[in-house]
Amino acid sequence: MAQGWLQVAVFVAVLIAATRPLGVYMARVFGGRRVFLSPVVGPLERLTYRVLRVDPSEEQDWKAYARSLILFSVFSWVALYLILRTQGIQPFNPEGFHSGPWDVSFNTASSFVSNTNWQFYGGETTLTYFAQMVGLTVENFVTPAVGICVLLAFIRGIVGRGGVGLGNFWQDLTRSLYYVLLPLSVVVGLILVSQGVVQTLSGASVAHTVAGAEQALAFGPAASQIAIKQLGTNGGGFFNVNSAMPYENPNALTGFVELLSIVLIPAALTYTYGRMVGRQREGWAIFAAMLAIYIAFIATIVPAEQHGTPAQHAAGSPTAAIDGSTGGNLEGKEQRNGIAESALWATTTTVTSNGSVNSAHESFTGLGGAVQMSGLATSEVVFGGVGTGLYSMLLFVLLAVFIGGLMVGRTPEYLGKKIQAREIKLISLGVLFTPLAVLATSSLATATRAGLRSIYEAGPQGFSETLYAYLSQANNNGSAFAGYTGFVQPDAPGNHGAYGISFADLLGGATMTLGRFIPIVLVLAVAGSLAGKKIAPAGPGTMRTDTPTFVFLLIGVVILVGALTFFPALLLGPIVQSLTTRLF
């Protein structure tokens, strides 16, 4: 147990240490300044602008920015859907897979274009290498870049001095891709391959095992995709069991690198933010609020998993740690990851909207599941998605400023910008849309016969599966209580005879798309509204937003919104399960 805590403490320390250097680098990139990669990447960047026929210096107002973003996403969606539906004629298809069903493909296309990476398919049993690379890997790159774009536009709205320009979407997109996501992915990808993550175009090999059986080993171009899957808060695994699969995450070193990759960019962006608004303390204040919630979650989930489950105890399994064994709830967890790292990963992946897993979330304890769902329920603001996390948190910051202003009787201002009725309306919609979508969809899925077909486990666990599924999809997370299914695959090779459960596929696909793009449009509208305002000089009446008091207020607002919305639902699922020793 002490070992586990030490591991968590060192991980958090490394994260804090990495925040500043990467944050400074990104601030330079997005400010258009030279960085060490400029000689290599600069020519590629300029070539891209020529190919796209755009003038990167052309400022876009919020509507033009949003239009470019939406059109780009629509084309990406269509391209991905077509790729998923034409697998039979694709190259790089050594296993001879057929196309997925239309409804599952609808779900998958929506999933990857919304940076969710929810998976109703099994990677190694349904997808060609072509679809993995040209379809999924591409979306793994562009969707976090889109998240960064929205954040940059929002920051420009905050610091703008009365204009309407929020920057140029194509420039922000290109720079995020070439200067941040691509170089980091190359480095992380090569580290992963050096440790045993597969990266090949060959098909499966059949091994003749020591015990005299046959074992087919599935391969693929995995490392290149896994690197960006972790770094871009994507989360969609190359293999069905994601980073529990040794070919996806073979040892403790890759476990550490993949774990850090989940939260690295979202954390560093808070520093970039401080730089770009010219007040570093503002960035750290937001970082502190995120970190506090993160640590509270970790401190809950690790002991819960160490304690073990009622089912283990009822079976007479000893769950105490003994010499040479961690003890605890190891169902669905890998020996090399153990209890503490699996629990740390589960927290990190749910608070950030990453959604990759290194263990079976469904097999966590009731309290462990409650932490995961609470991570999802904070609307991915605790570091959150790449770009997405910070712009979502900034909505909460503005809300906290407004509430704080009301409490002390002052005009709410944030960094010199007055927060008025129009902004507050848009912000409220932005903050409430996703939680309301979760409640509506999960009630629909539990109350209808069509929804019940997707559920695997009995009792409160079945409800938890459903709630988790829509929490995850609406928040663009992508992790799952994986018993919940929208895809049925018979035991036949080449994806023959597979079919989807249309209800879950379509409801989930729509939820992911709306959960992504409605908040984006609202955030850009707030940015456009803020950009036009003058910056008032700070006076003695200004409420400071870089103090511990404000951090406390911000945490309170985040928890209050999440708790008030979801507490009743959590009671019915994971909380019941953590309070009872009854089995179902």
Partner: protein, 196 residues
Amino acid sequence: MRRSALTALLATIAFTLVFGLVYPLAMTGVSQLVFPGKANGSKLTVDGRLIGSSLIGQDFKGDPRYFQSRPSQSEYAADTTYFSNLGPNSIEEREEVRGYLAAYLELEKPYDRSLSREDVPVDAIAQSGSGVDPEISEANARIQAHRIAAVRELPLARVEDLIAAHTEGRFLGLFGEPGVNVLQLNIALDEEAPSE
């Protein structure tokens, strides 16, 4: 609007080429050149025959001559991985664990009379995440060592040395958990003390 749509279309095509083909194929090329063994799945061959991967666990089907891997929901299928998805309050999970516990004691107790239920490590009776976990805990290996030593007529100390040689520690002594690679350990045993 027309112009934005054209730009969006061009961007979709351009980025698909860069990130869908150039990037993964370049990564594949570099990996095949620099880390050919690792990039192709860390295969293990004995006498030119592919017998598995050092990263992928195998089922030893209760054969007393071999160290046994963890229970697997997928019977160690490496091309169709899935989770057990058994919840914390699941009756089915209780039955599974009971069964694994009884089977473990039945296999090991004849070789280690002092073994009791409290000594059985959790990894030996809980299904792994991947279903192909290549490792078991050190405690699990030490219990099984009694059986291996007896069946293969090796000194217990020698078996324990082999276990230590096939144990991977934590990263920087800190991250993850130590584990014993079962397949590699069993191959080493077959070399050390062949049994028909």
